[in-house]
Subunit: 428 residues, 2 copies
């Protein structure tokens, strides 16, 4: 495997006529972040240090303003003849790069997994089975002996599709120079074909190019869905809560910050607790709604690249206080007798200890417990499941039984967590 | 700074007559581990890959057995003439090493901090102000222009003391060879003086050589004291609990495993909880005793190099259950009325959430919260403080007040934890 390239050229000289408006496509926001912000952050996270941006003179100021706003450092290369094609833009970047480099289209969006795999390759990155792209619009590639044999939109029976992501060596500029001497317009596909670039396959991961406002919305929805943090989700989350929360997140991601979502969710939870004194049934439903909303802050944060340790930390503590408030106010509203209070206390403690035991694992082992001990994901008793159960039993009028069941399943779950975690630690 | 050496020579050919018994000194156990086990593990942890052990023929089998028992790989070099001095032992190791290497006395014990600092140096490591060594017995060093000018036990006005730890280059063997030609006995000090070895200072850290059974016991006591994990200790731990627990640990470290200590402490805690129904006063005292014992497992584990993530993880969960059991049984034994039960529940939850909030911080930030936010150490409400407070208030007959105070200080502490942690995260 070759070393990861340290420099990248981003082509952003296109007009983007189908988008309407005057903003260059790479500066359009998708899920709360400019497309270019995503590309730059991802490349930097993968070790790319030098960024070269090719654009046309009339976009220069807009890109400069973008760079300084986010504190990105990038060299801007101007293409005074964008009509000469994106191959010509690449050709103009030849002075700015040395040796191996990434070439990427400024109007393409890629998932982190895609980029991680793509940057390890060499040549044109192709996808044999694109999941998110309109195949009629996509550029097809025919591969012979691991290299580009033909490339174009009209090819039938292609071996894969051009993802707009390349890992190239300096010698590609020779092919570009030849083509520059032969004609006026130089398409990138022609350069790649002339250079007989090698082909590297990354199939099935998310990537797409943005041409229309509809593409933007689709990309947003996909990014939110990919932002679902898999580990730690219970059955209720997977089957119900996430299906609703991702829709809410898609609606909110361009308007609302993760912190706003965290505090709003906390507010709904506390409201549910208070509502116990007026209508336990309504409170139970609102509690379940807060459980659905609980996914939104994390989804927005991940989709818009705004995650922070602080966000995750405080969100967890607030969740514990919502649970405590709800169950305590339910017990008070229900007028629990002294004889049942120890069970209520155990139910409350259990709901905190389920989280404590898995979080303390991460502190001790430095690893996500659900990844290390996947069996744990199938044990019932996670927060999403407890809350739906609470709603169901409260609506059925079985409050006493709810506390009994909660006390039982939570502490049983902690015991099994300790057991499974210990066995796993010994096997290592 | 030079690269850390990849190989080490350990001199273990001495007779150790003052110890009594037939075991070579490096194989004597101090705080549950052979001296040589400590040296080998520490060197390996610092990146030393090749170990060369020089000993005399009659100890060969014992060292071989030691190596295979612990899975250490080391080359054994035999010195058939131990009476010719430790410089001769070094001389015999000349074929086994190449380039830069560590030279260390097999009967010396070093703290991890000492070794970490010493291995970065060059030449003889000296201590200008040894804290743990009998200065009359120690070898003195006179330094001129950063190099050994004179060395010996009888020197007056020394610049430092020989720690028995060296980082040497291959050329030291030339000095050893010269001395071998000149006489029969070669002391290491003479070799170092002849080679005009450079001097590297590491002062004030723990190191000592073991000559007598009394030394062994002293080393054990010091290792246990150094094994106190500073972060997270409350005032009560620092002033009271640790002073007692380290004495208990020193007595137990050669006999008891950390796991046995963990479970015994848990047993005492649960016993204290049960005792609430017979004598709340006795139970409160036993609860405080379990709090003192709670330090023992960690001290034994660290002093005997037996720490494990699993041990820390399970110990934490058991602590939570001891607290829950004690407070719940106290409330039941006291016959708490329904009106006070919400306070009892909050007191119980608070005791778990204090740990949850700091442990979840480690999970999110990958750092010890007490190290990142030292102010937190001075906030009251840690477990050691809560337990002493419980004992005091129960003995004073103020059970109702105890629950009120616990509920208040724990949740207040959580709130301040969130506040301080957030501010710290923003400053980074």
């Amino acid at each position: 495997m070759s070393a990861v390239p340290r420099q990248a050229v981003i082509l952003a000289a296109g007009e983007g006529r189908r988008m309407g408006g005057n903003t260059p496509k790479p500066l359009l926001r998708v899920a709360g972040r400019e497309i270019l912000y995503r590309t730059f952050s991802q490349l930097r996270a993968l070790g790319v240090e030098r960024l070269v941006l090719v654009t046309q003179p009339r976009f220069r100021e807009e890109f400069r303003e973008f760079l300084s706003r986010h504190g990105f450092e990038a060299e801007i290369v101007l293409n005074p003849h964008p009509e000469r094609g994106n191959g010509y833009s690449l050709y103009l970047a030849r002075e700015a790069v040395e040796g191996r480099f990434v070439l990427v289209m400024g109007d393409h969006i890629y998932s982190e997994v895609f980029m991680e795999r793509a940057i390890k390759g060499e040549g044109l990155v192709v996808d044999r089975s694109p999941k998110y792209v309109d195949l009629n619009e996509a550029t097809k590639v025919v591969v012979r002996e691991g290299r580009v044999a033909d490339i174009g939109k009209g090819l039938s029976d292609p071996d894969g599709y051009d993802t707009g992501f390349f890992v190239l060596e300096e010698d590609v500029f020779e092919a570009a120079e030849e083509l520059a001497r032969e004609g006026d317009v130089i398409e990138l596909s022609a350069v790649v074909k002339r250079a007989k670039a090698p082909v590297h396959e990354v199939s099935g991961e998310f990537w797409m190019d943005v041409d229309t406002p509809r593409d933007l919305r689709r990309a947003r929805d996909i990014l939110v869905k990919l932002a679902v943090k898999g580990t730690g989700d219970g059955l209720v989350s997977r089957l119900l809560n996430r299906r609703i929360s991702t829709r809410i997140s898609a609606l909110l991601v361009d308007r609302v910050s993760p912190w706003q979502a965290t505090w709003a969710t906390f507010g709904v939870g506390i409201l549910a607790a208070g509502l116990n004194f007026a209508s336990p049934a309504a409170a139970a439903v609102l509690y379940q709604m807060s459980s659905i909303l609980d996914g939104v802050d994390g989804e927005i944060a991940r989709a818009s690249l705004r995650t922070s340790p602080k966000g995750g930390w405080i969100d967890s503590i607030l969740d514990r206080y919502v649970d405590i408030s709800y169950l305590l106010s339910l017990a008070l509203a229900f007028g629990v007798p002294a004889s049942l209070w120890p069970v209520v206390a155990l139910a409350l403690l259990g709901s905190v200890l389920v989280s404590y035991s898995t979080e303390r694992y991460r502190g001790a082992f430095g690893a996500d417990m659900y990844e290390r001990v996947p069996a744990l994901s199938y044990l019932p008793g996670k927060r999403d499941e407890r809350i739906l159960l609470s709603m169901a039993l409260v609506l059925a009028g079985l409050v006493r039984e709810l506390f009994l069941v909660l006390a039982l399943i939570t502490h049983l779950r902690v015991a099994l967590t300790v057991l499974l975690g210990s066995r796993n630690a010994e096997r290592r």
